[in-house]
Amino acid sequence: MSIPAIRIDSVTKRYGQFQALAGVSLEVQQGEFFGLLGPNGAGKTTLISALAGLTRPTSGTLQVMGHDVVEDYRQARMHFGVVPQELVFDPFFSVRELLRIQSGYFGIRNNDDWIDEILGYLDLLPKANANMRTLSGGMKRRVLVAQALVHRPPVIVLDEPTAGVDVELRQGLWQFIRKLNKDGHTIVLTTHYLEEAETLCGRIAMLKAGRIVALDSTQALLKAFASHSLRTRLRQPAAGVALGGNDEGDGWVGFGFDAYADVEQLLARLREAEAGVEEIQLGEPDLERVFVEVMHRA
């Protein structure tokens, strides 16, 4: 097997008495589109900062493409690109100046062809010579994406890249990031928009209070945690509840099921019980429900 893009081994991080990461181990393989989810304060940004060398773990080790982020930081950072969560920028420079400087930090001179390409993909060409101060919030966010890509890193981590980006640009951004993934880049993403994670990510880790509480392929998570659901409005809700349904009020009773074949049986039994089915709604499993359930159980 090839070297994992990211390898995190028993990482803890303490801020004084506070335990931000409580022993995280995780591997992301090359070429994956990986989601890192969790509520506010779960430790996602802390974990990313440790990978980027912005913060030192209290214990444990982290590697990027086989390079330890502390011992072999130069190689690790050459292979790593981060789009930070905070909207930070340097007000002294124009977009192009900034990207040239960022390229230089990675030892790259004459990077203009690639810079133009990135700016094109991110719809920033008209603003290439504008001062950072004059950009809108969403544009600044896209410059952050561009900055993370100047050195063509094989591993790219995006910490809530779509916060504050309008719908159209969000679509564009995802298209671009998908293309990067197709071209072989490993992508790790954090987001609070769970539909995004569901459609984009092949695998997902859920973090809560500094611990991984779920880690599996998106498909498996959807299957394992949230079954499909059937909501029925009944004349006799009690009859439905007697069959194992959930009283949701207003005559609505919800049922979980695993396969569509089960629906027929369920409806047959409701008829037998003379529950009086008036309306039916079928619910697809979605990541949001999985997320809520996982966080609840953990």
Binding site: T55, Y73, E86, F92, I101, S103, G104, G107
Partner: protein
Amino acid sequence: MPEALQVRRVAWVGFRTLLYKEVLRFWKVAFQTVAAPVLNAVLFLLIFSHVLDRHVTVYGDISYTTFLVPGLVMMSLLQNAFANSSSSLIQSKITGNIIFVLLPPISYREFYAAYVAASVLRGLFVGAGVWLVAMPFIDLPMAYPLWVLSFAVMGGAILGSLGVIAGIHAEKFDQLSAFQNFLIMPLTMLSGVFYSIHSLPKLWQDVSHVNPFFFMIDGFRYGFFGQSDVSPWLSLGVVAVCLVSLASLTLWMLARGYKLRN
């Protein structure tokens, strides 16, 4: 390309880029960062020379104004070297854009070298500015340009390092100005910029001798007049020891990631 060579090339380009960025940062606002301090020094010069020139001579026959200029040049150089690294770092920390320097494969040594070199350059620009503006009005010799340059560069590097320490340690702008007002200003003012310490009472002469800034300015002045309060070799030694100690301290802080990668 062999890996070791590749790494060295990346490190070199990274250092040069960071230096370039730091120089551009002050050069884009040169009106505030270079012109303003030059004007400041020139005002000092006008006032002090007007008041004192006819009453005071130093080292026998040197007029007070002539004596004053190298001190003012050095004082401006030192203060601006400090201002450059400290204000750049605290700004980057407060706005958060320091991460753009921390994410790339730039080692703490390159980081240090770039910030200090930019500080030295800002100091040299300001110092040269004061010197050039004063030139038409006085007849200032330069006996040993190499001494002048050595003390200018080393003094700038010392204050540049202090600026790195202060900029990393401080969390707010007012902490930085406390550093500036309670350490840098008194030490420069009491270093013999405005007088030869031979004109001081014995006690104050002794106090001056524990102020490293005194040696920076005295050695610098030696380069102009070929005369000084203490031997230039002694000054050179003191300044070199200061520089090496401060550089080590700063590098140690940076290597530990103190307040930058915690």
